[in-house]
Assembly symmetry: C2
Homo-oligomer: 231 residues x 2
Amino acid sequence: MKAFPPFPPDDTPGEEIEREAALWRPFAQAVRDLVDASVRTAVGEDEIRAAQAEIEDVVARLRKEQLPATLGVLHRPNGRRRPWGNPVIGVRNPIAPPLVVRSSPEGRAESDFHCGAAYEGPPGLVHGGVVSLVLDQMLGQAVGAGGRPGMTGTLTIVYRRGTPLGDLRAEAWIDRYDEVKTWAKGHLIGPDGVTAEAEGVFILPRQVREQLAAAQRGEDVPPVPGLRIFE
Amino acid sequence: MKAFPPFPPDDTPGEEIEREAALWRPFAQAVRDLVDASVRTAVGEDEIRAAQAEIEDVVARLRKEQLPATLGVLHRPNGRRRPWGNPVIGVRNPIAPPLVVRSSPEGRAESDFHCGAAYEGPPGLVHGGVVSLVLDQMLGQAVGAGGRPGMTGTLTIVYRRGTPLGDLRAEAWIDRYDEVKTWAKGHLIGPDGVTAEAEGVFILPRQVREQLAAAQRGEDVPPVPGLRIFE
């Protein structure tokens, strides 16, 4: 798979995106339910084999036509973000719980979500790596919302106690920044309080850096596709 | 979901485990293929809706009988580990790539695996949180194989460059340890070399600590279920 094939930025109109979302959201939820049922079912072997044959048949039909690249490549933003394939927030990705994230231009992000049996590590607890997966995404959402987007440079997770499977809450915020780096913090909250804390360093892409500098000089700045600029 | 319901340790005989694995492995692979097809298909809307209806029907049949607890709780080890529900290595978990891990009593673990479109973060690249998910598991495998098992206390990931989707390799090893803590390191390797480095601190459970101390005093030590003792 090529990292950056020459596809144009996604300029699908807003109403068409809504229409497609209405198709994909319930489809991905059905597959997500199937993932959950896979680790929780207790039906007999014949039923499992029959289900397998049926699923293989569905897969063969879905594979008849495939996208020319991954969703991340095809949906590179042109004004509006569409992270449908994202394994944490992607509405079209059955691996994603998915998190619905509320964020603000001050660089804050929060989400209430559910982690079921498919995310289990130690008995009854969320896998420590799933905790880091969710927190990495949340810290990224906070820096993005605050106009300081970027790739993760370093991520540190401190596990305070086991995170029970079930309803959880994640919060993240920008702690501080300099010209190039943004430090974000966050945590995961279970029924008994904070279970894990995160700190991440995010590296601002050159394009955004140059636009921020131009804005500070009072120049008229063209919008960065899919990003808002931190005031 | 209760963290530790009173289920007895798993004492399923080895051949029965093999028989069950032969049932679940291809079933979970079919669901895994469906997850991949979900983010890659380009078939028409009618085909998507038909697939959704069929999947919902399979889910309803699988949900007719459900396990009384999560796989992690039901399969708590009694001699032989069976981490089938694990979201990184679980053969029965469609979220898991799954990694097949080779490990050694010196506290080393390695795995060659594949990350497809469902694990995408930035365009064409593995999600940074998926990188941390895989490395957390690998570090845990290394300390477990070395007889120093435990829950993750702290995990730090340093991202050196983007990890391209596709075939990858993960390696982990015990770096050092004291009475209670074990420091493990590891990295992820893509086609152009190391993409991310990890360091984790794992906390040795009291039961294992007491057995290690008894072994050092030359006492006859009962085996820790599912664990080998580091010599």
